[in-house]
């Protein structure tokens, strides 16, 4: 069947070869744009659509086309969305003209021009980036374009506006009115500092009628130290920053992580050129003489990697954050959508694999080595004591076991320990162990049977009791011997003392163990206490640990143990507070390439991947990196004006944070599966301006905020809304329905007059007494602050490209009932002065940057009258209203 169709096509192909132009203009572009992300090398559904052969062979459901018969062709059924199973492409139906083109092409025999390139082998052979992949918009160089002509020449304030207005006019949309001064000031202040504008700032701006009044505001805000706290925090979202170890299985605090956080905040405040900002986070330790002036202070930037979790995390996070590419997807297979072969993944992995995390102390060498020496001593003392206690504890246990029968008999007879020459505590333990006959082993069953017979009033012969006790003891001693032999063999198998102590050097193997029921008896008699996998074992009858062993030791050994403990305490006390250091990285001693791991399995190595940059972002074959790990070369390749992504991605992030949506809405994915820019020329304009300004983030803020576009009101327009409900083309400003978590908490403190505006320093745990800005709060990786989390503070285990803005009822309960809001309400109420009307006015100025309307004053007065003048309750209502937590 298949052969038959193929031969038909070959024939018709010959006949209609003249139609190659039609194919190149009407067919190939449609396939490339809509289908190639899934149906080329990655062959989803087994279907490969980039060759005549592939399209005829079809996928798992058979040939994609029937040449000469469009209606019978799966491809046409799928794009028309009439096929039961296939409705393609998934991102939305094709234009009718595109479908018509495909139809005509199939109708006339489906000629695939011979010279249009061979198909790329699916999984074997050299990975080739096809011309149409290189032609993808995001990989094109940033173009410097003139701003477009617009009809309404009065509206634009700067070039940004011309791009926006041109796109609006093209769609018959028109921008709404500009925002009022109060709204604008409030919006700008929240945008740049995450704090509400003060009444004085509002008054100053309202009173300034000069044409540059708003420019002055923007400059003032950009100069504020609170600017870096706001924008630095957004960067920390991307950097998956926390005050702990990302790789640890439980919360492991890093007391020095905040130095990276403070470096980021400071970099924004000092407008560190973005290219240097990027380079420093990848390779501050390697930055050359050109940047030498600043290098020492940039070492903290390496926290970006050092606070991460190994090479895989580093490849993933660096490429998503700096390049908007999901290179992490290429770990186990060539990227399904973007031209990123698996080899490229391992090229980058090799770079990070050739680097290692290290600390850079901020203290003199002598202080550091002294600290480490004491730390080592403490560890050694601990091991020494542990070993001593274990050794003698085991001896005690073994000796006690030889009297097992005596203990049982004493328990039976109710003999006092002293009179039987036994240890009183051990006898007590036996008595309590024997209280419950339900055991996980059967070996005491004969004994419990005797006990039960006696309990029933039977006369149990003492001989029988003695014999049962003696048998049990023999069993225990034999078992102990068996266990000892196994332990010795396992000790060797696990790699000796070092292996036992250190999980990393332990050689995993299948160890010997007692038969399980025997093990339970052994455990019940001799094991130390442990908690594991839902078991909380309190310790064996004969087990005496560190706190209980002393009385069994002869004086000489007891004194030795005491002196070991005294010594440990002394050393522990002598340990000073740990010196300050920065989490950073350096090149490892022997940098080298890694091998591709086929299907992501380390046990399945493939070819070696040279350390070098991504092929799609290089001209031709990327040259291998040669300096050490290659991190600096990587940093330079990323932070380069010639890189088509770096400037675009950052300009887009800044745009997104000002407008709610990016020009590319998927801010961390500029690839095939990502969004396409709504205003591609504007994005290139912004990227160009960004680079030309010396990568100045503040300059970009300024240009954006001084545009008419930024200063639009949020006003509704029926006509615009009907055509562009999502406001993709920015005919108005987007209302922010809710401040993000930190701005919300900080604003509550600010309007209550209690915000502590100290900049920088060690993290502060969140509680009602913490009055610092939220960016300085402790970020735990495992137990996030519940209130911040409630308001969508990002999970620090992953890079977060965009805050979600949720609005569930649990959030409103926070406003209704939390002790935090109640407290700030009371403090706010206490701040308000004057008669009732002026207090209400003052509250509105503080919270909403406006004066109340008369009905609003009336609502307040009525409420106060009814509530017996409770200003705190009134203040809480004002804080709970949507106006407080939204930005218009």
């Amino acid at each position: 069947m298949w052969r038959q169709i193929a031969s038909t096509v070959c024939t018709s192909g010959l006949l209609l070869a003249a139609d190659a132009d039609f194919f190149e203009t009407r067919v190939r572009p449609v396939l490339a744009k809509n289908c190639y992300s899934c149906h080329t090398g990655s062959r989803l559904g087994g279907l490969q659509l980039d060759s005549g052969e592939g399209i005829l062979k079809g996928g798992n459901s058979g040939p994609a086309i029937v040449p000469g018969d469009p209606e019978k062709s799966l491809l046409i059924q799928a794009v028309l969305r009439v096929h039961e199973k296939f409705k393609m492409p998934p991102q939305g139906p094709l234009e009718p003209a595109e479908v018509a083109g495909l139809r005509t092409w199939i109708q006339s025999g489906a000629v695939w021009p011979a010279a249009s390139g061979p198909p790329v082998p699916a999984s074997t052979g050299e990975y080739l980036i096809r011309p149409e992949q290189r032609a993808f918009w995001a990989f094109q160089p940033v173009k410097k374009l003139p701003s477009p002509a617009v009809k309404n020449a009065m509206w634009p304030r700067n070039n940004i506006d011309r791009f926006i207005l041109a796109a609006l006019e093209q769609r018959g949309l028109s921008p709404v009115a500009q925002a009022g001064k109060r709204d604008l000031l409030r919006r700008a202040t929240f945008d740049l500092t995450g704090l509400p504008a003060s009444p004085e700032e509002v008054d100053a701006f309202i009173g300034d009628s000069s044409s540059g009044a708003f420019a002055k505001v923007v400059d003032r805000l950009l100069a504020s130290p609170h600017y870096g706290e706001r924008w630095g925090r957004y960067w920390l979202d991307l950097a998956r920053y926390s005050d702990g170890d990302l790789g640890a299985s439980k919360d492991t605090p890093y007391a020095n992580a905040f130095r990276y956080r403070d470096w980021v905040i400071n970099a924004f405040n000092t407008d560190l050129p973005y290219d240097v900002f990027v380079k420093a986070q990848i390779a501050a330790d390697l930055m050359g003489p050109k940047d030498a002036k600043q290098t020492p202070s940039h070492l903290a930037a390496l926290g970006f990697h050092a606070l991460g979790h190994g090479p895989d995390d580093q490849v993933d996070v660096s490429t998503r954050v700096f390049l908007g590419l999901t290179v992490g997807c290429a770990k186990c297979h060539d990227h399904k959508y973007d031209p990123i072969p698996t080899r490229d993944y391992y090229s980058l992995r090799g770079i990070f694999k050739s680097s290692e995390v290290r600390e850079y102390p901020l203290a003199p060498e002598a202080e550091v080595s002294a600290y480490k020496a004491i730390q080592k001593q403490i560890e050694e003392k601990k091991f020494e004591i542990d070993d001593f206690v274990k050794k003698h504890g085991d001896e005690v246990s073994d000796v006690l076991a030889t009297k097992t029968a005596s203990y049982l008999l004493a328990a039976w007879n109710g003999t006092l320990a002293e009179s039987a020459g036994l240890d009183a505590e051990t006898l007590e333990r036996w008595q309590s162990y024997l209280k419950d006959p339900r055991k996980e082993h059967p070996y005491l069953k004969p004994w419990f049977d005797l006990m039960e017979r006696r309990a029933r009033g039977e006369n149990v012969p003492l001989d029988q009791v003695r014999k049962t006790a003696a048998d049990f003891q023999s069993f225990v001693l034999a078992m102990n011997a068996e266990k000892k032999g196994m332990d010795d063999r396992n000790y060797v198998a696990m790699g000796g003392a070092k292996g036992v102590r250190d999980e990393r050097t332990r050689q995993y193997t299948n160890l010997e163990s007692l038969e399980i029921v025997k093990y339970y008896l052994w455990r019940d008699l001799a094991s130390d206490p442990y908690k594991k996998d839902f078991v909380d074992f309190k310790g064996g009858v004969y087990h005496y640990g560190a706190k209980q062993i002393d009385r069994f030791l002869p004086p000489l050994l007891r004194e030795h143990l005491t002196s070991l403990r005294t010594e440990r305490e002394r050393v522990e006390k002598s340990l000073p507070k740990q010196y300050a250091f920065m989490h950073a990285v350096r090149d490892s001693a022997k940098p080298g390439n890694v091998k591709v791991e086929i299907r992501g399995e380390p046990a399945n190595p493939g070819e070696e991947a040279p350390r070098r940059f991504l092929a799609i972002l290089s001209q031709g074959e990327p040259p291998p990196f040669t300096q050490g790990s290659g991190r600096l070369e990587l940093a330079e390749a990323i932070a380069s004006a010639a890189n088509p992504l770096t400037a675009r991605v950052m300009a887009n992030r800044i745009w997104q944070l000002h407008f709610g949506d990016g020009i590319v809405r998927t801010t961390a994915n500029f690839g095939q599966i990502g969004d396409r820019p709504s205003h591609p020329e504007l994005l290139d304009y912004l990227a160009t301006r960004f680079v030309e300004s010396g990568w100045s983030v503040k300059a970009l803020h300024r240009e954006i905020m001084l545009s008419s576009t930024y200063q639009l009101s949020t006003r509704h327009s029926e006509k615009n809304y009907a055509a562009d409900a999502a406001n993709r083309y920015l005919w108005r400003a987007n209302l922010r329905p809710r401040l993000d978590a930190e701005a919300l908490r900080d604003s509550l403190l600010a309007v209550a007059g209690t915000l502590d505006r100290t900049v920088g320093g060690a993290p502060v745990p969140f509680d009602d007494a913490n009055r610092r800005r939220s960016v300085y709060g402790l970020v735990s990786r495992t137990t996030p602050d519940e209130t911040l989390a409630l308001f969508d503070f990002p999970n620090p285990n992953n890079t977060s490209e965009q805050r979600s803005v949720t609005a569930g009822p649990m959030q409103r309960l926070f406003f209704l009932n939390s002790s935090f809001v109640t407290k700030q309400s009371r403090l706010l109420a206490e701040r308000l002065r004057g008669d009732d009307r002026s207090r209400i006015r003052e509250a509105y100025r503080l919270l909403y940057a406006r004066t109340p309307l008369e009905p609003e004053v009336q609502y307040g007065l009525e409420f106060l009258q009814r509530s017996g003048g409770s200003w705190a309750q009134y203040a809480q209502a004002l804080l709970s209203s949507s106006e407080f937590s939204s930005v218009n």
């Binding site: 996980e440 299948n510 163990s513 594991k532 609005a807 959030q811 509530s867 004002l878």
Partner: protein, 461 residues
């Protein structure tokens, strides 16, 4: 008059239409609009709600509901066939330390550690042929919850609430219960890119008092009358603000959530207060976190919450690497409360349209694990090629086993069921076509079942 009744009747005192209508709402299903409003399913459903009991950590199939005589026969021998890859070094085959017995009319064999579920086996559908993709807890938990092994996809409860809304507008549509947090925590009940109204509301069921179960549930300073007056004011302020800024649907939605919060204050303390149940009822569940969680799940389901997910315990209690015999303690803690829940769902007429899911992110190896990391050396490692999941109620056939693993219980070989298939089936029972329940995000239509999933028709009653 208790607080709840007082709040109900107090409705008349509120000036604003929005608040008074919500307070006066006699019927809980009277949700006119909004994200949680009840929506019509794609086709007539068999079930209306889901209770998912997650035995987190990995319940062993061969020690519970998938008996393997060959395992006992070949105890101590290496598993035949090519060397297989498990997470850590695995040893030889290990028989189950527990006895299996035929139970119920159906005669399905159940391990002695689940005596009460054994007695109710005729109500349970035992899927013995589950398989999954990744041997680690994190990815497997995400796959079982969200149909994808990486974070960032909405969980099943979010999808279901998105598809159907919820029957009680005074409570969240999707509730997740855990005494603390399971591995990965809130990611497991995340709505991801779906609107946050569909996120699981987390309740810490180790607490007893409703005010501690849900944070900020009660105002400690204001009397009821004071708060009523205050909310009335907030409502006026919001209306005034809205009239100044014009058409802003997002903000209107946020204001609406204030109303749900207010109603939650009335309803949540009551529904979460298990002392409202008789002493004999409570006794059947026991006073453990899990027992109380099962009883809360019942009460939440009864009040119309669309999906309840109950985690057995913090972190991953069922992760018996060390000693498989500990499964008897775990099962001992789970068996009674689940049985009580099934009984009460029946007694209250809810069983027929409530799907109860009982299971883990994966199973455990038929081989022993003893690699030096364990104390006891009698445990089993993670097993993704084959494991068991139980379903009951809402349109599911009881007393049947579906699918099978190989002779040793290692790999599903007959009627294999991937979590995608399970999800497709649950959605189907709820009246939703898993291929039509889509959400457009980041340029493409997403589904709970990604691009896979087949409804398991043979288990549908």
């Amino acid at each position: 008059m208790n607080r709840r009744e007082l709040l109900r009747t107090a409705g008349a005192g509120f000036g604003m239409a929005g608040l008074s209508s919500l307070l006066g709402a006699a019927s809980k299903t009277e949700a006119a609009s909004g994200p949680l409003a009840v929506r019509t399913p794609h086709f007539p459903p068999k079930a209306k709600r889901v209770i998912f009991i997650f035995l987190n950590g990995g319940m062993s199939q061969v020690d519970t509901f998938d008996p393997k005589p060959m395992l006992a026969k070949h105890h101590g021998e290496p598993m035949p066939g090519p060397k297989i890859k498990t997470d850590r070094a695995s040893g030889s085959l290990m028989r189950s330390p527990f006895e299996f017995r035929k139970r119920g009319q159906s005669g399905l064999e159940v391990s002695e550690i689940f005596p009460q579920l054994g007695a109710r086996i005729d109500d349970l559908c035992v899927i013995r042929s589950m398989y999954s993709d990744n041997g680690n807890h994190g990815p497997s938990l995400l796959l079982m919850n969200s149909g994808h092994g990486l974070a960032g996809r909405p969980s099943m409860g979010s999808w279901i609430t998105y598809g159907l809304g919820t029957e009680n507008q005074n409570l969240p549509g999707f509730v997740a219960l855990c005494p603390g947090y399971p591995v990965l925590g809130p990611q497991l009940w995340d709505s991801a890119f779906l609107p946050s109204s569909y996120q699981g509301a987390y309740i810490r069921n180790s607490e007893r008092e409703p005010e501690k179960l849900v944070r900020n549930l009660r105002n400690k300073e204001l009397t009821l009358a004071e708060q009523e007056r205050q909310l009335n004011l907030v409502s006026k302020l919001n209306q005034s603000y809205l009239s100044q800024i014009g058409h802003q649907p997002q903000l209107e939605a946020s204001i609406a959530s204030m109303e749900v919060a207010f109603r939650m204050q009335m309803e949540a303390p009551d529904v979460l207060d298990i002392t409202k149940e008789s002493e004999s009822t409570r006794a059947r569940y026991g006073d453990s976190d899990f027992g109380r969680g099962c009883l809360m799940s019942l009460r939440l389901a009864e009040r119309g919450v669309r999906m309840v997910q109950l985690y057995f315990g913090n972190f991953q209690p069922w992760d018996s690497h060390d000693d498989i015999r500990v499964h008897s303690k775990l099962a001992g803690a789970a068996d009674g409360p689940i049985a009580a829940l099934l009984d009460d769902l029946k007694a209250r007429g809810l069983f027929k349209d409530t799907i109860v899911m009982i299971g883990s992110e994966f199973g455990r190896t038929p081989m022993i694990q003893n690699s030096g990391l364990e104390r006891v050396g009698n445990g089993r490692d993670h097993n993704v090629p084959g494991y068991t999941m139980l379903l009951a109620g809402g349109g599911v056939k009881g007393g049947m086993a579906y699918g099978a693993t190989d002779d040793f219980g290692f790999k599903a070989v007959e009627n294999r069921v991937h979590p995608h298939d399970l999800h497709a089936t649950i959605l189907h029972l709820m009246g939703l076509d898993h291929k039509r329940l889509t959400y457009r995000y980041s340029g493409r239509d997403f589904r709970l079942t990604d691009v896979a999933g087949e409804v398991i028709q043979p288990i549908i009653a």
